[in-house]
């Protein structure tokens, strides 16, 4: 059935978007930077994995290297850009513009180095499919869904059970506490950025394996993810992930009724309506 196939496709994509949304939420709620360059990290992941596999590295090893690359780029942005700006009390707008600048540089650097055309990661097994009931999923899709869920669970556990995670959550939940914690925040911020950027390498590479690579696709993924973050109830990791899945599923299944090129416009329209009807989001805890 076409509908079920599209739904499965959407759910899988949604899992990848979910990881972006969850990591973005983590960064936003701790560092208070609307880190649009996160989309650039997602792009870097795909290209780094592509580059390493074309140089003969096995795919799994390439992914591991990409995790390190992404973590390093994320930490670098935090350390060289956000921390410097924060040190001189730059307003959020300035951080945002700088972040956008970083995104533009990263995406176009990829385009300039590796051409703006579609690239395929060389791995024969990416075309293998597995049937579950009447639905067929490709190997990359299955890996994508499983790894995203594992990462999501891992991040939830991290934020709930480790001391750094707890502190991150506390900072996110309470402005007053944030002020106190800001006494020694730099290391926390860099760690959060490195973790959030590193895990992004997994869905970034697997999506690239599944659909091929292009420099500018990350922007759309990030848009959906940020919509999910807001619609899911700010700062709520669970809400962000689930809303991502719902949004992506809506996007793919909606192609049955409206032409594909309109689906992002439709998602966005939905967001506007949602924000007017339920401004605190779908999974918001009690209004503060």
């Amino acid at each position: 059935m076409l509908f079920l196939d599209l739904l499965a496709d959407g759910v899988v994509t949604g899992c990848a978007v979910g990881v972006v949304a969850v990591t973005f939420t983590m960064i936003y709620s701790t560092t208070r930077v609307f880190h649009v360059a996160h989309a650039g990290i997602y792009t870097v992941a795909g290209y780094s994995t592509w580059f390493l596999t074309t140089r003969g590295l096995p795919f799994w090893l390439a992914i591991i290297c990409s995790i390190a690359v992404c973590a390093a780029v994320g930490a670098l942005i935090q350390h060289q850009l956000y921390t410097r700006l924060a040190r001189r009390d730059a307003p959020p707008l300035v951080l945002l513009i700088a972040s956008l600048g970083a995104l533009v540089v990263i995406q176009n650097l990829m385009a300039a180095l590796f051409s703006p055309n579609i690239l395929q990661i060389p791995a024969d097994w990416r075309v293998l499919t597995v049937g579950i009931g009447s639905i067929r999923l490709s190997m990359p899709q299955i890996l994508l869904a499983v790894s995203s869920l594992v990462i999501f669970a891992g991040l939830l556990a991290w934020s709930r059970y480790t001391s750094l995670g707890k502190r991150t959550r506390a900072v996110a939940a309470n402005e007053f506490l944030a002020e106190i914690t800001r006494l020694e925040p730099r290391r926390v911020y860099i760690t959060v950025m490195a973790i959030a950027s590193g895990v992004l390498a997994v869905p970034g590479s697997l999506t690239a394996l599944d659909h091929g690579l292009q420099p500018y696709t990350g922007t759309l993924v990030l848009l959906t993810a940020t919509i999910a973050m807001i619609a899911g109830g700010m700062g709520n990791l669970f809400g962000a992930f689930v809303t991502s899945v719902i949004l992506a599923a809506l996007q793919t299944t909606s192609t049955l009724v409206i032409p594909g090129q309109w689906s992002i416009a439709a998602t966005f329209g939905l967001f506007v309506i949602l924000m007017i009807v339920a401004p605190t989001g779908l999974f918001a805890r009690r209004p503060r």
Binding site: L93, G101, V104, L109, A265, I276
Partner: protein
């Protein structure tokens, strides 16, 4: 000579657009990456109306003005209920949705191949079909817009949006509606960039979605970041420099495939460098 006049005309058009960005981003502190889209709506409105002979140039310009103001209002709409940071998301969304409309509403916009043969502006029965004549029109429009920009900035409303950038909570405590002011400035800024879009279509006589995509929005943002926020001079210097840049780059031996990305990289680096080292731009005030 013609080459220089063309450059001047384009720079003037972008100066109009920069005033719009300056009102929104520089003065009020609302981040926007949808300026390119609104610019495009102005251009397409004038292009479509005059190409099909549905309206004369002045009427089409008025329509562009109103339509752009209304679209920018729609951008502000979700912010009726949610806090400021999410303007980013709406603005990204509007940009991407607008590009989808320009690309896919093929019957009206000509799709990816764009609209060719937009007639030159016709004012008082005269076709302004060469740069020398056009520059007269664009200079008059620019001068009038600059006067308005200056009037708005010094008016009580101008003070209010300046205060909003500084501290929304303190403005709320004064019993002022931050939202109403933001909606107002969105509409106002839409009108400035709509004007720019309309002139752009009339001057180039060819428009396509690529001129109004997210890269265009980033260019418009870079212009005020480089020129400087909150001043008239900044709104003029930024466009003057950045419209010259592609010409300068085209002299260098760069493969055409990489020219586009390289230009964007340069814009991105400028955004970062100015934020780090000179947040007031060349002739503005601190962002």
């Amino acid at each position: 000579m013609n080459f220089f006049l063309s450059y001047l005309a384009i720079a003037e058009i972008y100066a109009l657009a920069s005033m719009s960005t300056n009102l929104l981003v520089g003065v009020t502190g609302i981040f926007s990456v949808s300026q390119g889209a609104i610019f495009g709506i102005g251009a397409y409105t004038v292009g479509i109306l005059t190409l099909n002979d549905w309206a004369s140039f002045p009427v089409a310009m008025a329509a562009a003005l109103i339509l752009c103001a209304l679209t920018n209002l729609a951008v502000a709409l979700p912010a009726l209920r949610i806090a400021g940071d999410y303007f980013v998301v709406t603005s990204f969304g509007i940009q991407i949705a607008a590009t989808a409309v320009f690309m896919n509403l093929t019957d009206i916009t000509g799709g990816a191949s764009g609209l060719a043969g937009v007639p030159p502006p016709n004012v008082f029965g005269r076709d302004l079909d060469e740069p020398g004549a056009f520059i007269l029109l664009s200079s008059i429009v620019l001068a009038a817009a600059a006067l308005f920009f200056w009037l708005v900035l010094r008016s009580p409303f101008g003070r209010l949006i300046n205060a909003i950038r500084e501290d929304e909570l303190a403005v709320t405590a004064a019993g002022k509606s931050v939202l109403a002011a933001k909606v107002g400035v969105s509409a106002l800024s839409g009108m400035f960039v709509g004007l720019a879009g309309g002139l752009y279509a009339g001057f180039l006589s060819f428009i396509d979605p690529g001129s109004f995509d997210i890269d265009a929005s980033i260019l418009l943002l870079t212009m005020i970041v480089v020129g400087g926020a909150r001043t008239l001079a900044g709104s003029l210097i930024g466009p003057a420099l950045l419209t010259a840049l592609p010409q300068v780059l085209s002299v260098l031996p760069i493969p055409s495939d990489a020219a586009g990305p390289l230009r964007q990289i340069l814009y991105g680096l400028m955004l970062i460098a100015f934020m780090l080292f000179r947040p007031q731009g060349i002739a503005g005030r601190r962002l």
